[in-house]
Symmetry: C2
Subunit: 417 residues, 2 copies
């Protein structure tokens, strides 16, 4: 019999307890053992909960209990969770966590702290086994790129905006449906996706970057007119977490992205998640499924527990040794290469286009597609560029925004083909 | 240092040797060890090969070599491969195989023979890590269903037929492109997909069925007119391998299938593979990628080797113990439940429809969609049914085919929604 302790008995924790009971038969057959939740750690002992396990509000009751083999951390947050997981490791426990924020900040420290199994399948894309895919299934490959729809809230909102809803309307609906928080910034601002991207990137590239180090843009400025441009030129707009190898440099970025509508990842709708991974040998593989929800997330948590019970031994971030020819370097965000889409609101004057075009030319940016639309107040110039360097785009935009006839900040969406 | 022997140095074997060299750095970092191919076993020592390893035509040089830890079987075929893998096991080797036919017939015997790692990721869907996903990533779930596009040749042909090509034309093209063999039966007849389905089903259900035990139909009778019906009613036609749980019964079947065109799996085009798995807790997850090709398949083979070098310990078919409440039973193919599409060629006479409708009514089959098209020679009746039982459909068809005005065998495509 294997005894586990759960720190944080909220939606996911309750699902873990229930599934261990509901699917006891298959879990025992697959793991070879009985898995029992001995203790749950909660902040508030008085709150009513839908599970029948021993509860405590002192995490040491779990991390220092000699009978407990595996500590499952489902509380969320960074520093308090770090303290508790550290205590679990110091007391020789195996750890399972679903905590993306903890890992976005502390995954390398945690890896260096423990020789015991440390599993975190649920931290990215809920029930989709993307961690195991990257760490084990694709281990023979140099990873060329990862492109992930890893925030269901944003994908839901963008799917509805494509159907015609505007941003504010659909944010309200998302909040009513429980897809978005009262303060939605963490989701719509791209920060949640960034946490997950950093985890995936460390498995692909062994790269230790923190959220502050990378380009993060949210979907707040997407307008229905961008959806029209996308439709006109055969794209879908998706919030993507992107990790890309270019020689010794790794680009890490989260932003709304125009994706050609013949790619599988462009077809992912609603709250669903998907991650496209390109390996140098295997080509593209894609993983699709529910990225959130108590049961889907608990499915991943329990798969980790079963792996540990079977005797898991894959190294936490996938590397038993450092790479021989040194580590990859994070590319400075100003040096990112991409194609770009820009939306520029101008007043209807002679010479507008010429002025804008000359600024692009001066900055070595060449235009690919162009669409001009009469808006309610202003004329909207929608255009896409061939590949350019981020800082050249930034400079161009700065100059363009200084022009008298430009009436609003320029909006940018990057294009990935 | 880990030494391996490869039995069968064809396209995949050559890719394995080359990738172990090309990606030596990342493979060493992830596995923690140097992996070296010591010996390759080939039938014909005189054939020129694009690899620089020691070759032999005697498999015992590999299976009984004390320096070799892992035997990688890439020769294909059933009985000879079984003999060699058995010899490897008897000599204490870990085994990696890409051989779906071997596993379709002998997976349970092999599992019972060995306590060493036995990995076979490459046997299903090439580079897509679907074995690990089912065996490890989804291990907390009872699997409700598996639906897989697991034969790239058929998916390529059906994709092209949708664009208007007819079956004979596109088979010829597929043969020219190397997607189909001179005798294409193994692919277009559904047998290749059946082998792969049986492997997936044993991980999901621990069920030991052989190819002869299950319903296997190929794409040979698909006509462009079926594509028109599909389009009219919002379906795509895909050859699917299907495993489904219904109480204690498991349905296993391979056949062309009408799939609603809003499902992710319906969007998979060309030679690509995808497997949709529904777990009772995680919901649907889907895995997409290249199902064939030397490098993609070798990517899976080497991921297995790396797993073994790291110390893999997942049980071969995913079960450490039998299920407590007994095993699942294979559902008799006459008892399969499905919705059906039928194509009936009739001469243009009064009372045809009434006659056919009365036969369906007698067999408790109710009609859902209906389309009648004037063909060159005959009138074509295209219809779909609500859920029915296979034997009732069979009986109806038998009666219908006896009618004077019915001019050809009735064609059937099952519908999965």
């Amino acid at each position: 019999m294997i005894k586990i302790g759960i720190v944080g008995v909220g939606t996911v924790g309750e699902s873990v307890v229930k599934i261990l009971e509901d699917n006891k038969d298959i879990i025992r057959a697959r793991s070879g053992k009985e898995i029992v939740v001995k203790t749950g750690v909660v902040r508030n002992l008085n709150k009513e909960r839908d599970v029948n396990i021993k509860l405590t509000d002192n995490y040491l009751d779990v991390t220092t209990d000699d009978e407990i083999d595996i500590v499952v951390e489902l509380m969320g947050g960074v520093e308090e969770a770090y303290k508790i997981v550290k205590s679990a490791i110091e007391n020789g426990k195996s750890v399972v966590t679903a905590n993306k924020a903890l890992l976005a900040y502390h995954r390398f420290e945690l890896q260096n702290m423990t020789d015991k199994p440390f599993e975190y399948e649920a931290s990215v894309a809920g029930g989709i086994p993307i961690i195991k895919a990257l760490r084990e299934g694709l281990s023979a490959n140099h990873i060329e790129s990862i492109k992930g729809i890893i925030n269901g809230t944003c994908n839901y909102m963008l799917t509805e905006m494509k159907k015609g809803a505007n941003y504010d309307e659909i944010l309200k609906v998302a909040q009513e449906l429980g897809y978005a928080e009262a303060d939605p910034t963490f989701d719509v601002g791209g920060f949640d996706a960034a946490h997950k991207l950093l985890i995936l990137a460390s498995i692909a590239y062994n790269i230790d970057a923190k959220p502050d180090d990378i380009l993060i843009e949210g979907i707040e400025n997407i307008d229905t007119i961008d959806m029209e441009f996308a439709k006109e030129f055969g794209y879908e707009i998706k919030l993507l977490g992107i990790a890309k190898k270019d020689g010794e440099f790794i680009e890490l970025r989260v932003h709304p992205t125009l994706v050609p509508n013949n790619q599988m990842i462009s077809k992912v709708e609603g709250v669903m998640n998907a991650i496209s991974v390109v390996g140098d040998k295997v080509g593209e593989t894609l993983y699709y499924g529910a990225g959130a929800g108590g049961d889907a997330t608990a499915s991943a948590v329990i798969s980790d527990i079963i792996s540990i019970v079977r005797g898991s031994n894959a190294p936490m971030l996938g590397y038993k040794k450092p790479l021989e020819n040194g580590d990859f370097k994070l590319r400075n965000r100003d040096e990112i290469k991409s194609k770009y889409y820009l939306r520029i609101a101008v007043s209807d004057e002679v010479g507008v286009l010429e002025k804008i075009a000359s600024i692009f030319a001066k900055n070595s940016i060449s235009i690919s597609n162009f669409l001009q639309k009469q808006g309610n107040e202003f004329v909207k110039i929608l255009l896409s560029t061939h590949e350019a360097i981020e800082k050249d785009i930034k400079n161009s935009i700065e100059e363009i925004e200084k022009l008298n006839f430009v009436k609003k900040p320029v909006n940018v969406i990057r294009i990935e083909e």
